[in-house]
């Protein structure tokens, strides 16, 4: 029965394991791009002290964050489905970071939801702390996990910490650009300033990180970083960052947003470059070692990939419904 529908002993197409490596990296990219700007909004929220601005930021965040966050679940479960041993090791070896990360997500998600339940100064302040703290720690810890994973480095080492801080900075960049494009001129110009500072910090951080890795050869990654593809990624990142600063300065916020979003995409490309073919450097596991058997992967491909396309369409629909600038009152519940 099954044989009739799907090949059992061979992959649908020969490079299917590599394609799945690509799909997993795609989910990771979607996550750090989309939830990244949510985190950025959360951190920038800390700079707002009047209620009107805070409400504006929350309404930019409200309708989309939950859908954005699902990409981390997609990333995790796709990894489990295609490379179960990577999933096990990745989470088991980074126990406290991983659970810290999900708890940060918990506080980030609950803060805004609980805030609107009560009209009480103190209550709202605690909810704000929860939102801001969660938005800061989630990318920090997620980045640290990625750093340990990719560079096989200790928790409190420079590569790990710099990756964490890098993700925080790039989230602020995309968050600021997103807000600048979505809100009125007054808020936008302030966001522009934060965005520019964060871009510079991010680019500086990436350079220091890569220099450290080359210098210490963490995880044996030095060669990859000195290769042409990595150089291209770095050059493009610098171009996108500096170009973004110019666009932001000119007040072309939509174009700035586009160039800002390129930064996490490029970051993720760098991660993918470093993880191929050794998908789990600490144990030397390669994509071919870790991948599941043909039937299982064929099935997840046939049932999962069309749905993934459908999901992209939903996102287009969602962002379409909530496109355009927001006023202080939000979208109107």
């Amino acid at each position: 029965m099954t044989e009739l529908l799907l090949p059992v002993d061979s992959y649908l197409v020969e490079p299917l394991p590599e394609i799945w490596f690509g799909l997993v990296m795609f989910a990771l990219t979607m996550y750090i791009v989309l939830d990244g700007f949510d985190f950025g909004i959360g951190m920038l929220y800390a700079t707002r002290d009047n209620d009107h601005d805070r409400e504006t930021l929350l309404s930019a965040f409200g309708p989309v964050w939950d859908a954005n966050e699902v990409w981390v679940i997609a990333f995790g479960t796709m990894t489990l489905a295609a490379f179960p041993d990577v999933y096990s090791r990745l989470l088991a070896d980074h126990y406290l970071l991983a659970l810290g990360f999900v708890l940060a997500l918990l506080f980030r998600g609950l803060g805004p939801e609980l805030r609107e339940q009560r009209d009480d100064e103190r209550w709202m302040r605690y909810c704000d702390y929860s939102f801001i703290g969660g938005s800061l720690f989630a990318p920090l810890l997620f980045g640290m996990i990625a750093g340990r994973w990719v560079f096989d480095a200790a928790t409190l080492s420079a590569p790990t910490l710099l990756t964490g801080i890098g993700l925080v900075a790039v989230s602020v960049v995309t968050g600021a650009a997103f807000l600048a494009a979505k809100t009125g001129p007054a808020l936008a110009s302030e966001m522009r300033d934060y965005g520019i500072i964060a871009t510079l910090a991010y680019l500086g951080g990436v350079v220091v990180l890569l220099a450290t890795v080359v210098f210490t050869d963490a995880g044996g990654a030095a060669d990859t970083i000195l290769s042409i593809p990595a150089a291209v990624i770095v050059v493009l990142s610098v171009a996108a960052g500096l170009g973004g600063i110019v666009l932001a300065g000119r007040g072309e916020y939509r174009a700035w947003l586009a160039s800002a979003l390129a930064l996490p995409v490029l970051l993720s490309a760098l991660v993918a470059l470093l993880l191929y073919p050794t998908i789990y450097p600490p144990t030397g596991l390669t994509v071919q070692d870790a991948v599941v058997s043909p039937l299982a992967l064929n099935l997840t491909t046939v049932l999962g990939v069309p749905v993934l396309l459908l999901v992209l369409w939903y996102f287009k629909f969602l962002y379409g419904v909530f496109s355009g600038p927001i006023e202080g009152e939000g979208y109107g519940a």
Binding site: M1, T2, V8, G62, P63, D66, A67, E69, V70, V72, I73, A74, G76, T77, M78, L80, A81, A82, P84, D85, Y87, S88, R89, L90, L91, A92, Y95, L96, A98, L99, V102, L103, L105, L106, L110, E113, L114, Q117, R118, D289, A290, V292, S293, L295, A296, L299, T300, L303, G304, V307, L308, V311, Y314, L318, V321, F322, G330, Y331, G332, A333
Partner: protein, 489 residues
């Protein structure tokens, strides 16, 4: 918490041990307690979404199509509950899927091919659908057409039922695994998928899906009935809430008896496929003919921890256990617990099962009583009924949780029946300090979350009463939406 007390009963490493100076649990015990506790909280919110979905769809459709003020009121109230519950379901659910890797990496590796697919389908097919269209349902009223708006409510509900489907594919496979063979990958014995249809539609799957969905519907119907009864009790002439109470009672009239009939057949299926669990449910130790204990009371306190027939007062149907288990033979042998080397903690399973079934019959009685009052047109007038429903509102959840304890604890020592034990599944790199630390963290944070959820429900009810013009009088004030009980959201 009950997992902890179960471990006490189990005689395992029961109490937090003093290990050096710090209070530490073994990684295995802490992981199990943590998983059991977090899933118990998560399931409350998941069941809320599943059970509330039909109400939301119905209210939305009625409001948009008829402009009836009653449904506007009901929709706006329950959508707020749904939204808060959904966020809590999301934030409690993400740690669930992480714990497969953090605490049970061996399980993830061994079962990766079997559970990874369904979990990924759940994320892609169900979670995205729910999250995207809930955004539209909550914030998009003015931005989309009526039809898209109604459709959004349907898609959100469908997403909730679909996520229940995929997660139960995973869980039912753990109960009755099939469709795989064991192979070696990277030096480890792991399951290789050989037949996806057999694996997904394993013998337990449909039983579990029907029973779980119906359990969620019952639990939420009781919650809706309780809240409505409370508001009606405060404001007799509220048409909207009278209607809500009526709808809830009608749903219970169908779902409560269905659950008992289905559960009875389900029990026989469990006997077929997991005889050890069935023996634990019935506290049947010696292989031989089995009696059916309709009611069991402890005759001395030890029966709470070791429910053997000698220390129970039971009303039993002699040999009916054999009759049911074999489908017609009063003399059929039923395997007893003494046949096995290692058993689940019998008392937890036995008493949980009785708790669930007892509550199941209570719900039937409440439904019939309500049906009778409805027929006489006095549903909103009977003080006694309103009070009974207010008190009963958290009990659906209690039955739902205890039912899961039967399923999950009754499967021990296996995590995948007859294939992988729970102790083999636990992380080998996890230290006692890390495990204890996160366990305490989850106990505190998830506990606080349940309390916050209860408070939100209470605030929403107070707002609603204020809008209906009910003055708060200190005399007849209930503390909390559900007096005296808190195992609910």
């Amino acid at each position: 918490m009950s997992v902890l007390s179960q471990l006490l009963v189990d005689g395992g490493i029961a109490l937090p041990m003093l290990d050096g100076s710090a209070l530490q649990l073994s990684p295995e015990i802490a992981s199990r307690a943590q998983f059991g506790w977090t899933i118990s909280v998560h399931i409350l919110f998941a069941a809320l979404s599943i059970g509330l979905a039909p109400f939301i769809i119905y209210f939305t459709w009625k409001e948009v199509r008829t402009d009836d003020e009653r449904f506007t009121r009901l929709r706006s109230f329950w959508v707020k509950v749904f939204a808060a519950g959904f966020v809590m379901g999301t934030v409690t659910g993400i740690p669930m899927s992480f714990q497969f890797g953090t605490n049970f990496p061996q399980f993830s590796s061994v079962a990766g091919e079997m559970i990874g697919g369904p979990l990924a389908f759940e994320a892609k097919m169900a979670f995205f659908l729910e999250a995207v269209f809930l955004g539209v349902l909550l914030f998009g009223r003015e931005r989309v057409s009526d039809r898209t708006f109604i459709l959004s409510s349907v898609l959100v509900g469908f997403g909730a039922w679909l996520s229940g489907f995929w997660i139960l594919v995973v869980n039912s496979w753990m109960q009755t695994p099939q469709g795989y063979e064991m192979i070696t990958r990277n030096g480890m014995e792991v399951a290789k998928l050989t037949d996806p249809i057999a694996a997904f539609f394993n013998p337990r799957m449909t039983w579990m899906y029907v029973h779980m969905i119906n359990a969620a519907v019952i639990s939420v119907a009781l919650l809706v009935a309780g809240v409505s009864a409370y508001i009606v009790w405060k404001k007799r002439d509220s048409e909207a809430w009278g209607t809500a109470l009526k709808i809830a009672v009608l749903i219970l009239l169908v779902s409560a008896p269905l659950q008992a009939i289905h559960g009875d057949a389900y029990g026989r299926h469990v006997e077929d496929t997991q005889p050890q669990k069935f023996a634990a449910m019935e506290a049947h130790y010696e292989t031989g003919t089995a009696d059916l204990h309709l009611l069991a009371f402890p005759t001395d306190p030890s029966a709470l921890t070791d429910p053997r027939a000698e220390n129970l007062f039971t009303i039993s149907l002699p040999r009916v256990g054999s009759f049911l288990a074999s489908g017609g033979d009063f003399n059929a042998e039923v395997l007893g617990l003494n046949e096995y080397e290692e058993n689940p903690p019998v008392a937890m399973v036995f008493w949980s099962f009785r708790f669930m079934v007892g509550l199941g019959f209570l719900f039937i009685a409440l439904a019939l009583w309500g049906g009778y009052l409805l027929y006489r047109g006095r549903l909103s007038d009977s003080d006694r009924y309103l009070k009974a429903m207010i008190m009963a509102s958290p009990f659906g959840y209690a039955a739902l949780l205890t039912g899961w304890y039967v399923t999950e604890i009754g499967r021990q020592p296996w995590v995948i029946q007859d294939q992988l034990t729970t102790s083999e599944a636990v992380s080998t790199t996890l230290t006692a300090t890390e495990a204890t630390l996160t366990l305490v963290g989850f106990l505190v944070i998830y506990g606080a979350l349940v309390l916050v959820a209860l408070y939100i429900l209470r605030w929403l009810i107070q707002d609603e009463l204020r809008e209906l013009g009910v003055q708060e009088t200190s005399g007849d004030r209930w503390y909390g939406p559900i007096p005296g009980v808190s195992d609910d959201d």
